[in-house]
Symmetry: C2
Subunit: 161 residues, 2 copies
């Protein structure tokens, strides 16, 4: 198994990150939903004030993995948690242990930031992933459902027209 070189993304990585995002969307057959741009990526992921972060993994200098994460919160602990929004390895680079190395680094970042937990969401039909995550000791939080409000309904709730 090749050892990845993993580092935080920097400003000049924005086009590479956009390629990864498009690859991920393509794989999920959701390309039509991508509106991300290089400028938006620079602002939200790569700026000094960015509230979300990107890790890149390289094998022999070639980018083969990317992860987007941010810090969430446990009210009862009054501690942050690390939330992994996306982890992607292109199809031709899979089965080489790269995903596991990215998860390990993210777990280290969680501990370095005194996080009480490390979380991510999985599609319910993705049984191989669910099995893999359970083997790592991750526990499904099956009692909860995420609700989302967007677009016109969000504006209506805010009282704007």
């Amino acid at each position: 198994m090749k050892t990845l070189s993993i580092r935080k993304a920097k400003k000049t990585d924005a086009p590479l990150i956009l390629d990864f995002i498009r690859g991920l969307a393509d794989y999920e057959k959701l390309s039509g939903e991508v509106t991300a741009t290089v400028e938006q990526i620079e602002k939200t992921l790569l700026g000094n004030e960015s509230k979300a972060h990107c890790l890149l993994g390289f094998a022999d200098g070639k980018p083969v993995a990317f992860a987007i994460y941010f810090f969430n919160y446990s009210t009862f602990l009054a501690k942050y948690g690390l939330y992994l929004e996306d982890l992607y390895v292109p199809p031709e680079e899979r089965g080489k242990g790269y995903g596991t190395q990215m998860l390990r680094r993210l777990a280290q970042i969680a501990l370095e930031n005194d996080c009480g937990r490390f979380e991510w969401s999985v599609l319910n039909w993705n049984e191989p992933a669910i099995k893999f995550y359970k083997n790592l000791g991750a526990e499904p939080q099956e009692d909860w459902t995420l609700f989302r409000i967007t677009g016109k309904a969000l504006k209506k709730l805010a009282g704007t027209k």
Copy 2:
């Protein structure tokens, strides 16, 4: 319906926030899980570098609502979202529209921060809440399950002992 005075929490509110957290835990019969302290609340919610935030709602000067939120991320949009971690109104203050006023302010904060979405999680058995949220136009994301890794399993994944 009384109009709440809603503002961001400040350093001196930490003891009040801890009271709210204990009230919430008590209501959920999870008091044993609270390890939050005034110091930890100051650091994680009320500091200049805090990654999570707290809103307080007052009726005639009396604190009657609190909300904890942070910014999450949509990779495809390369935009932040607003995630509501907890919203609590003490039992004796319910049914007065305070929760809705807090949600409205949070929706405004989401729009002010160019967020593509506003999200929160709901316990699956909480049918009155689910009905209320659906009426607001919120959509359940039922295809996903949250996985969580904590404690020894998190340390093991990180490779620390």
